[in-house]
Every structure is written in C-alpha cells, then in structure tokens.
C-alpha cells in the first residue's frame, strides 16, 4: 500500500485527538457524573390528570421532607403548567415534566435545564441553577430575584413559538 509517511503520522495524531476527546467525555461522565438527562419511566400521557403526581393541584414547586426542591410541570399545547414557578438558585433541584399531548422540549434559558418531553415518559432533570448565570441574561425583579423564560424548544404545532412560561430564580 502507498500511504505516505506524513499521512501515517497524521493518522496517529488524529487517533490520539479522538481518543483524548473520548476519554474526556468518559472522565466527566464517571468522575463528575455529568450525563444528559435520562429517565426511563413510563406514564400514560392521556391520563396525567388522574395520576397522583401530575394532577393539576400537585403541579409546581414542592420542598420534600429531605430538603430537595422538586418542580412538577405539564407541557400541553400551547401552554406550560404552571405558567410561572419559583426556584432557589445554588440549591439542588429536580425538575419532573410530562407531556399531555405531543412531543415538547423544555428549556430554561441560562441553566442546564434542557430535556425533551416525550409523551409516555416522565422527563427528569437534576441540576443546580447558578444565580450569576441567570442574572446575566434574565430580567431583574425589585425583590432581587431574576426571571428567565422557560420555553418549549421542540416544534409542537403551529402555536409552538407561543408556548412558554417563566422561572423566577431567587437568591439562595
């Protein structure tokens, strides 16, 4: 075979480059536990209102006994329920979201809260909101908190652009 020595060297460099990047991802996954949100948990999207967790009066933010903050959200065309939630910054939080109809996406600007909301499954994101990040892009409120939009970021029909809510982030 006629592979030039220069190409051989470049081959080695390329493989090293790819290896280093792969190892970096493995390292962050293992050591820092950084994973994209996965949560194989089935739910019947046509009966959300009949489940204990996603019935309307249980939506919103709850502080559980062990101190974790859990926000429950239902995405349904073309609204986010509840329309506004308040979350503390720099505190571990859990977002649990379900769709009542089609595929939606849930994204809170300036945070790592980003997941598809797939009918039939409960999406779960565990994260911590950094106050400086949201303060840099959000709207400041008189009480010192900051409001950022929460939008549907997956095309879900002709009203998709209007499907959004707000998250008020308070200082810890």
């Amino acid at each position: 075979m006629a592979i030039h020595p220069l190409e051989r060297r470049w081959f080695v460099v390329s493989i090293l480059l790819v290896l280093v990047m792969g190892l970096f991802v493995l390292y962050t996954a293992w050591a820092a536990g950084i994973h994209p949100p996965s949560n194989v948990e089935a739910i019947d999207s046509t009966r959300l209102h009949l489940t204990p967790e996603f019935a309307e009066d249980h939506l919103g933010v709850e502080r559980t006994k062990d101190g974790t903050v859990v926000a429950r959200i239902v995405m349904a065309r073309y609204m986010v329920h509840p329309q506004e939630i308040t979350l503390p910054a720099d505190t571990p939080i859990v977002i649990r979201a379900a769709s009542a109809d089609v595929l939606h996406g849930l994204h809170v600007a300036g945070t790592n809260i980003g997941t598809q909301v797939v009918p039939g499954y409960v999406s779960e994101v565990r994260t911590t909101i950094r106050f400086d990040r949201v303060a840099a892009i959000g709207t400041a409120n008189p009480d010192g908190s900051v409001t950022v939009p929460l939008f549907c970021n997956e095309y879900c029909g002709l009203g998709h652009q209007s499907m959004w809510g707000r998250v008020r982030v308070t200082k810890p």
């Binding site: 470049w10 390329s14 994209p36 949100p37 949560n39 194989v40 999207s45 002709l158």
Partner: protein, 547 residues
C-alpha cells in the same frame, strides 16, 4: 496520465439520466433557497405574513434541501461517476428511469401535501403529531425510488469486479458503492417507521403510536443520512478536485480507508440524536457518544489528504515555500475553487460537530440556533459547495458545451461561501445565547430577545447573498446547454495518484467484511435501544394534528 481520447468513456450513455436527476435536484434547491430567505425575513419582521406560513415554508425548505436535492443529486452524479470511472455505460437503464419517475412523483406528492397546508410537521415529522397520509406516501416513494440507484451502483461494481479480477475498483466508484451500501442500511430505520407506524396512524388504521420506538427508529437513520449526503462530496474532493486544480491525488488508499470508515462508523451511533430524551438510558447514550467522536477520523484524514493533493497542484504550478503554493492554486477555475471552499468550510463545521457530540455540552446547544447554524455550515458549506463543484465539472461533459461563464460560476461560489459565513456566524452566537430554533417569532421577554435579535441584520444579508447565489448557479447551468462553444474533450478525467494504483488489499476493494462487521455493530448498538420497547411497559400516544 494521458487518457486516450473519447469512446473509452461511458458518460455518453448516461447523459439524459444524469442530467434529469441533477436538474430536478437543483431546480427545487433554488426554490427552497428562496423559501429560506423568506423565513429569515419573517423571523426578523421584514415581512410579517403568519406563523403558519413560516412553519409551512420551513417544512418545505427542510424536506427539499435535506431529502430531495440530496437524493436526486446523488443518484444523477452517481450514474455519471459509475459510467465515467468504469468506462462503460450502465446496464439496467430501464430500472434507473423507473427509479427517477418514482422519486419525482413521490417528491411532488409530498411537496403538494406540504404546500396545501396538510403536512406542516417539519422535515423531521416527529410523532405523535401526524400529517396527511399523502405526505408519508410521497416520502416513501422518494426513498423507495432511490433504491434503483442503490441497486444499480452495487450491481455495476460487482459485475465490473467479476470482469476485471484483481484490479482495484476506481476510487470514485468505490466511494459511491460505499454510499449505496450506507444508504441501504440507513433507510431501514425510517422506512420501518413510515410504513409500520406513521402511514397506518395517518390513515386511521391504528389509533395510537409507540413514540419511543418511532424516535429510536428515526435516529437509526438520522445520523448516517448525513454521511450519505457527505460521501459524494468527498468523492468530488478525492476524484475530481485534485485533477481540476492541476495536481495529483496524494493517496488513493487513504480515500478508501475514509469511505470504509464513514460506512462502518456512522451507522451505529444514531442515538446521539436523542441525547436529551428520557426514554433511552444514559449508558447507551454514552456508548453512541464515544462512537460519534470516532466518526471524526475519516474527515480528519480526508482534510489532510485533500489539502496535500492541492499542495501538489500549487507546487506543480510553481508555488514555493511553506504557503506559496496556496496563491498558485487555480482560484479562477470553478471546479477547483468549489473544492477549496468546500474543504475550508469543513474546519468550522467539523469543530461545531465535535461540540454537539460532547455529551455534556450538547444540552447547552440542543435545539438552539447553534444546531441550525451547524448543519447549514456543513450541508451548505461543504456538501452543497462540493455538489456545485461536481456540477461544474460534469455539465460540460454531459452537455458537450463549455461552461457558459466561468466568471459567473466563480462569483456564485464566492457569494455562497461569504453569505454562508455571514449567515451562520451570528446564528451560532445566538444559539450560545440560548435562542431556540424553529420559532416563527419570539414573544418572550424583551430583555432576552433583544440580545438575540441584534444579530439578525447580518444574518439576513448573508441569507440574501445565498439566495442570489443559488439563482445564479441554476442560471449558469441553464445557459451552458445553449452555449455555442463546444467542449472539445468529452471524457471526465478523474484524479490520479503519482504512482498508478495497481493493487489494493481485498478489504479496501470490496465490502463483504464490512457488511458483516456492520451486522455485529448494529446488533450491539441497537438491539437494546430498540428492543426495550417490546419488553417494557409502553403507554402509546394518541395521534394529534399540527394545529
């Protein structure tokens, strides 16, 4: 290096076939590009028609650019490459024309369905949102019709090898065969989804759909399809551009290795399209993420070998010193210019791809304008620019007329390239600032929206430049047919290496081993992500329209 002139070239036998395919692709491409310009206008309120029209237009634009342009170009270009590189006309022309008409009818049915407002589901048509059944029938016909090209390409290679034992399949044909095999594998996912899930759902034969399964099947297709678009661009870069630039291909074997890698690595990694979905476990995503990095390898190799080939051209033309050869490249030769620009666009495009692949970073950019910017850069910048170069190389050979205007062709290429950069640089930035993609307008808080929209004006200028460029492209090709100046040399000369390639090892001259390897890899990477839906509790979803 000298070819003994004419009839040892099969191109004359595929003229009509190649031109018909490519003309359909390019004509619809120009229309779709103008729709893209309208979308920019609507989003920046230069015009305000309606959100409905925006999504309808984006659906048609996406479907045409991603599925129709590419499939038609690849089939037409593929027939030309097969005939030119094997130096004989293709057999089974009846089948090829049947494929063409099937694809054309399918594309038109789908386009009419979208234009009539019955299928505003975007080019990804994610269930449980359903379009009118005509949309899926059209899509299915387009895909099934393309199988004619797939079968013919593979059959031509097989019969040529039988008649020429021991001789290496020409690199260009080797690449197109890799692409045909890749396409057959790629189609499995989306065809199963359309035929067994979406068509019955849209016809009301089944009331519900397993969304998780549909998403897994679609991601089976969604990654390798990008490489189906890319391989012909690489064939242009390996087999047409070095010669057009006046140089030699630096290495034939590296090209073969790259094509094999693209085939084998791009298929088992599609799960990265559902990185932020709940229904796939993190471990499987991680596995596909690691594979996603490996698919950078063939592109890194290609970048190096093509750059080195261009360097041989620059030096043969008298370029000296470390960079002196760059200035000596034939910048006024459209085929070479297109190749150079396609190669340059690969740098920022490839970098963006690595960010998306980065598992953790992906969440930040997922479904933001970053993604749209990234695939316009790769698709418009590398893939379509290489298609331009391929067309500029082929048109004189297929029509027997010289290119109507090299000056306009060069202007067109530069306009496209500059327009693309001006369009996508701000788009990337908006994405990093969190601007969502696929929105007709942005009714959110001004504090955040204003940070994004201040980048809109350059975007519009860039998009408009590209729109003009696409019209100019079609104009140059159209005028070539009537050019009184005849092309004196009817043969398409493919790039050659300095030393002729007399022998290559069997695995770099055929695909049997690689297909077996794929059987194993596909089973390992997809059996569970797809199979899980048959063993776990699944709540199927109801069908919804898009209103």
């Amino acid at each position: 290096m000298s070819d003994t002139a004419a009839p040892r070239d099969g191109l004359s036998g595929v003229r009509g076939l190649a031109l018909a395919h490519m003309w359909v692709g390019f004509a619809l491409f120009a229309v779709a590009s103008l729709l893209g310009v309208y979308q920019l206008f609507e989003r920046d309120h230069v015009v305000r028609i309606s959100a409905e029209l925006y999504y309808q237009s984006t659906t048609l634009h996406g479907v045409v650019q991603a599925f129709v342009l590419t499939t038609f170009f690849i089939a037409g270009f593929g027939y030309a490459i097969t005939a030119a590189s094997l130096r004989r006309p293709i057999r089974r022309k009846g089948l090829a024309w049947l494929g063409f008409w099937t694809m054309l009818v399918g594309s038109l049915v789908a386009a009419v369905s979208i234009a009539a407002g019955k299928a505003t589901v975007l080019y990804t048509f994610y269930p449980p949102m359903v379009a009118h059944w005509t949309f899926y029938v059209g899509a299915a016909l387009l895909l099934v019709g393309s199988l004619a090209w797939t079968a013919i390409t593979i059959a031509e290679t097989v019969s040529w090898k039988r008649e020429n034992p021991g001789r290496p399949v020409p690199l260009a044909q080797f690449g197109m065969t890799a692409n045909a095999i890749l396409w057959a594998w790629t189609l499995v996912g989306v065809v199963v989804e359309v035929v067994f899930q979406l068509l019955p759902l849209s016809l009301g034969l089944t009331p519900t759909i397993d969304v998780g399964l549909a998403r897994a099947l679609f991601s089976w297709t969604l990654h390798p399809i990008v490489y189906f678009w890319l391989i012909p661009a690489y064939v242009v870069l390996y087999s047409i551009v070095p010669r057009a630039a006046g140089g030699y291909l630096f290495s034939d074997e590296v090209g073969r290795i790259a094509f094999v890698m693209l085939l084998v690595i791009s298929l088992p990694i599609g799960l990265h399209h559902v990185f932020v979905d709940p229904e796939q476990a993190a471990g499987w995503k991680l596995m596909h993420a690691l594979g996603t990095f490996m698919v950078a390898l063939p592109t890194l190799l290609t970048g190096f070998t093509i750059a080195a080939s261009l360097e041989t051209a620059g030096r043969l033309r008298g370029g000296k010193g470390l960079f002196g050869w760059i200035g000596r490249l034939p910048w006024n030769e459209p085929v070479a210019l297109g190749g150079i620009l396609a190669l340059v666009a690969l740098l920022p495009g490839g970098f963006g791809g690595l960010v998306n692949a980065s598992y953790a970073m992906d969440v930040m950019v997922h479904n933001t304008a970053w993604i749209t910017a990234h695939f316009h850069l790769i698709l418009g910048g590398t893939v379509v620019t290489a298609y331009f170069a391929g067309a500029y190389a082929l048109w004189p050979k297929l029509t027997g007329r010289r290119l109507s205007s090299r000056g306009l062709a060069n202007a067109q290429l530069w306009m496209w390239f500059v327009g693309l950069l001006v369009l996508t640089v701000p788009w990337h930035w908006q994405g990093l600032l969190g601007m969502p993609r696929r929105v007709a307008y942005m009714p959110y808080d001004p504090a955040i929206v204003d940070r994004w929209t201040k980048w809109n004006p350059p975007m519009i200028v860039g998009g408009a430049l590209m729109g003009l460029s696409s019209l100019l492209f079609v104009w140059v090709l159209f005028r070539t047919h009537g050019n009184p100046e005849r092309e004196t040399d009817p043969a398409l000369h493919l790039s050659e290496t300095v030393e002729p390639v007399v022998h290559v090892p069997a695995p770099l001259n055929g695909f049997a081993v690689w297909n077996w390897l794929l059987v194993v890899l596909m089973a390992a990477s997809w059996a569970y992500p797809i199979g899980q839906f048959f063993s776990m509790t699944v709540h199927k979803a109801l069908a919804w329209g898009f209103r």
